[in-house]
């Protein structure tokens, strides 16, 4: 049974509890409260944590944020170069290394520009001022008479001194003051321009660009064998047979953790296959019944919170409607299976990883292996795009386990395709229930409930060890508990609170505390599903009120920037008020401000529905985005368009297939995604606001895109689909068309039925 809704008074008491728990924070912090510094300067307070000036006049920038294809390292270099007045080419970036860089936690939530970018902007301005002061002394002139160009400080009389000459005197081992004002945007020469990405040349010429491309001297290759089901026990395996295989160096077993190390990569892969064949497993947990999944999930233990409430009377005669929406488990499905290198030598461990958070990973590996964090170094190297918490951290732990077993020899471990698909933590299945009422063309009542498992089971949890392999050790570790996250970020309730100006509304987050299917952070967390539901229901209310969907939204908006982005997309798409679909084609809109405080995004999608096959295509799509001050227009466009297309894939195609015995999605055949043939051109409008704060944008377009497509489908056909994805099966069921052939999206590929759970399937 779920916990009952918290009545308002209890809600306030609960909130009081939170305040109280904060006030019990360690006393030492309270005793010497340091000045509040902006961005990540608050937690990494010295200037030299961020910037070093080298004797040759170049600059080394340190950031705790890491690249995974979003272009962040280029954007951060632009910010630092801008404030320091040095050419971009003279900036070297060091990112995500527990031995060298600031600790900025996870690179997640579209927060890098706001956290790391702000720190670098302020530190850059301060270091520049410091260098100018040193030059003033050296040249014997007033600092305010000096000008800086390309890292050289010029006096009015023509004398000059380069940053490099001042490097030795510049003491950056001091706490930042954040008192030096950064440049006004009007003076920007590097920020706001489309600087080419620093990582692309190597990626198009075969340079060593990824962790997968690293080769260490004496390196050997590892692979792991996972159980046939979550939580299964390893009864026995044929160790002698594996050890006799060519190239095999070690078979590593610790409880139910099983892996192999071999001289060559293909030897490790072959040994894994034979290990799978000759290992016996038993037990393990049953998965939900996919046919009744949402009901089963909603019946699990949940911790419920009213996260927003506003009261006003409902006028008599208001027209009330309600609807329920669903989003299935969806996979990160990175193009590269996760990979890591690890080396264990003299009691110290080094791990090269594409984790989004090298510091939390280090702390968690230390706890899992009973080591001191100081004896572990985690160094970021790029992987494929991850889109959230995929297998990156888990494979790092697996590699560490194997490296420890072959002390002194570095181990490279890349998961196989099925390891990634079957064991990564998915984006959770979610249910959204909305009730609303309209009167006089306005929404007068709104009740929103969202049910979801945890969206944050990353390493770094103080009360658990969120590393897959550790749960299977003889000394088995436990994952941390599901937790609520505070608004406005939220988690399953990210973007659950309506942005519209409704006089009466109530939003409740039902956090499911159990984990029948492994889940964690997938790009946008709950925002994708919440925006899909809220924006679908806005169209349903607009229809109930008999008002054009664009006009209906604008009527419930107060913020000028919200209005501007919706009007911009309507203009770009030449939206006609009251436009109607023709049974086959139609258009729809979706809007949100990501996390309530980040980028504003509005999308209009056109769909084309094949009523016979049930296939939905999106031939055209328009997006308008306001991310505040734009650091790199081309980079922002790339992120926004990528978000639109990835969301189109989620919305039309993606759901993790499973039955009660295990996950069935193990490759691209049974987890199909959008392909080149079906990707439309994306028309993108960016609204630049150079005097506003730069806002996170990497996750802004996904929710609005899903809603725009669903609304376009409803406009085209007059039928509404409330369960994602919009598969041919569901389309045909909605349209009442006869079933013709086997729908492409719902093919059940032959899988090993594993009728005997004691045997690992192929």
């Amino acid at each position: 049974m779920n916990a009952p809704h918290l009545p308002r008074r209890e809600f306030i008491t609960a909130l009081g509890g939170i305040v109280l728990s904060f006030s019990l924070a360690p006393k030492i912090l309270l005793a010497q409260t340091p000045a509040q510094l902006p961005g990540s300067l608050q937690t990494n307070r010295t200037l030299d944590a961020w910037l070093r000036i080298n004797a040759d006049g170049s600059v080394t920038v340190f950031t705790g944020k890491v690249e995974f294809g979003q272009g962040i390292v280029t954007a951060l270099a632009q910010i630092a170069a801008e404030e320091l007045d040095v050419p971009l080419a003279r900036v070297t970036m060091i990112s995500g290394d527990t031995g060298r860089t600031p600790n900025e936690g996870q690179t997640a939530g579209s927060q890098s520009i706001e956290q790391s970018g702000t720190a670098l902007r302020m530190a850059g301005a301060e270091v520049r001022a410091l260098l100018v002061d040193l030059a003033a002394v050296k040249l014997g002139v007033a600092a305010d008479t000096l000008k800086v160009t390309d890292g050289v400080i010029h006096a009015p009389d023509g004398r000059k001194v380069g940053y490099g000459e001042l490097a030795a005197q510049a003491d950056l081992k001091r706490e930042a003051t954040a008192k030096v004002r950064p440049k006004p945007p009007a003076q920007h020469k590097i920020v706001g321009k489309s600087a080419p990405r620093r990582d692309i040349p190597a990626k198009v010429t075969g340079g060593a660009a990824f962790v997968q491309d690293m080769r260490l001297p004496g390196m050997v290759h590892g692979r792991v064998v996972r159980p046939p089901r979550y939580g299964a026990r390893l009864d026995n395996f044929d160790e002698a047979r594996i050890k006799a295989m060519p190239g095999v160096i070690a078979v590593v077993r610790d409880g139910n953790f099983l892996g192999v190390v071999a001289k060559r990569e293909e030897q490790a892969i072959n040994a894994r296959l034979v290990l799978i064949e000759f290992s016996k497993w038993s037990g393990g947990s049953e998965l939900p019944d996919p046919a009744k999944m949402y009901e089963q999930l909603m019946s699990l233990r949940s911790e419920d919170r009213v996260i927003s409430e506003k009261d006003a009377p409902v006028p008599a005669g208001a027209k009330a409607i309600e609807a329920t929406y669903h989003r299935p488990y969806q996979a990160h499905a990175a193009i590269a299976p996760s990979c890591a290198l690890a080396e264990f030598k003299d009691g110290k461990l080094a791990v090269w990883t594409h984790s989004q958070g090298v510091f939390p990973l280090r702390a968690t590996i230390a706890r899992a292996l009973g080591m001191q964090p100081r004896d572990i170094r985690c160094i970021h190297a790029e992987g494929a795009g991850c889109y959230g918490h995929n297998g990156a951290d888990d494979v790092a732990f697996d590699a560490a386990m194997l490296a420890r077993a072959v002390n002194g020899r570095p181990v490279r471990l890349q998961w196989m395709r099925d390891d990634e698909f079957k064991w990564e933590p998915y984006g959770p299945a979610m249910t959204m229930k909305v009730k609303g009422a309209v009167a006089g063309g306005r929404v007068v009542d709104w009740t929103y409930d969202v049910w979801s498992q945890s969206h944050n089971m990353r390493p770094g949890d103080p009360d658990g060890i969120n590393l897959l392999g550790s749960w299977y050790l003889a000394d088995a570790k436990q994952p941390g508990p599901a937790r609520h996250a505070a608004q406005p970020n939220g988690a399953g309730d990210r973007n659950a609170i309506t942005l519209y100006d409704f006089p009466r509304q109530r939003t409740t987050h039902h956090l499911i505390m159990d984990n029948p299917v492994r889940t964690s952070a997938l790009r946008t967390l709950g925002a994708y599903a919440n925006v899909f539901a809220i924006e679908s229901f806005m169209d349903e209310l607009a229809a109930a009120a008999g008002i054009d969907p664009v006009a209906f939204r604008l009527a419930h908006i107060r913020d000028e920037r919200e209005r501007a982005v919706i009007e911009a997309v309507a203009r770009a798409a030449a939206w006609k008020p009251g436009e109607k679909g023709d049974g086959r084609r139609g258009r729809g809109i979706g809007y949100a401000r990501y996390k309530t405080v980040a980028t504003y995004t509005a999308v209009i999608a056109e769909v084309e529905v094949n009523r016979t096959t049930g296939i939905v295509k999106v031939p055209r799509i328009w997006v308008a985005a306001d991310a505040g001050q734009i650091i790199n227009p081309d980079g922002l466009t790339n992120q926004i368009e990528g978000g639109v297309i990835q969301s189109m894939s989620w919305t039309l195609h993606e759901h993790v297939r499973f039955d009660r015995n295990g996950i069935l999605s193990e490759d691209w055949m049974n987890y199909p995604i959008l392909t080149m043939a079906d990707v439309p051109g994306v028309q993108t409008v960016l609204i630049d606001r150079p005097n506003e704060r730069a806002l996170g944008a990497g996750e802004a377009a996904q929710g609005p895109t899903a809603a725009a497509i669903a609304n376009a489908f409803a406009a085209a056909t007059g039928k509404r689909l409330r369960e994602l994805p919009l598969t041919p099966e569901r389309v045909k069921a909605a349209l009442g068309s006869p079933l013709v052939g086997t729908p492409l999206n719902t093919v059940r590929y032959p899988v090993d039925a594993a009728s005997d759970f004691g045997e690992q399937g192929r």
């Binding site: 272009g71 692309i200 198009v204 075969g206 060559r264 990569e265 293909e266 193009i335 080149m676």
Partner: protein, 155 residues
């Protein structure tokens, strides 16, 4: 056993079992980074190379089966200093997000341009339909291939 291969115009000898997938020989024995492991099942295209000018999935190509054939990887198309028109076009279009699929995309595009030097957009979409991109960079990739075809034609 020793196997002799023609890779990017040079003859190289490697010591591997003949059934070893070409992908691992390229990556581990010849230390060529470009071909990537994505699925090992021919589904994603990240491992695509050219064998005698035609696209081939190196993840399932036994190295012993291609003795005497010309293998071209992304490294063999061009270098940072002397990029191939496709490589230059991908830089010009900034046609990557994470970039893990890009080597396979460029090799599949090279195969297309070998067969059809002036493809239309639909040809490019069809030729790359079996190469998966997860970041949503598809449109830039298509633009880059069309740009390369244009530049090549102009040379």
């Amino acid at each position: 056993m020793a196997i002799s291969l023609k890779i990017n115009g040079a003859t190289r000898s490697v010591d591997a079992e003949p059934d070893t997938p070409l992908l691992y020989v390229l990556r581990n024995d010849l230390e060529l980074n470009s071909a990537k492991y994505g699925c090992g099942l021919t589904q994603c295209g990240a491992c695509t190379v050219l064998v005698n000018g035609a696209a081939r999935r190196s993840c399932v190509t036994p190295v012993g089966s291609i003795e005497g054939n010309e293998v071209t990887t992304l490294e063999g198309l061009g270098t940072l200093d002397k990029p191939h028109p496709l490589q230059q076009a991908f830089i010009d279009e900034q046609a990557a997000q994470c970039g893990y699929c890009i080597s396979g995309m460029i090799m599949a595009a090279a195969d297309l341009l070998n067969r059809n030097p002036q493809p239309r957009e639909a040809d490019v979409r069809a030729a790359l339909a079996d190469n998966l991109c997860r970041c949503g960079t598809h449109n830039r990739i298509i633009r880059a291939v069309l740009r390369a075809a244009q530049n090549k034609g102009g040379n």
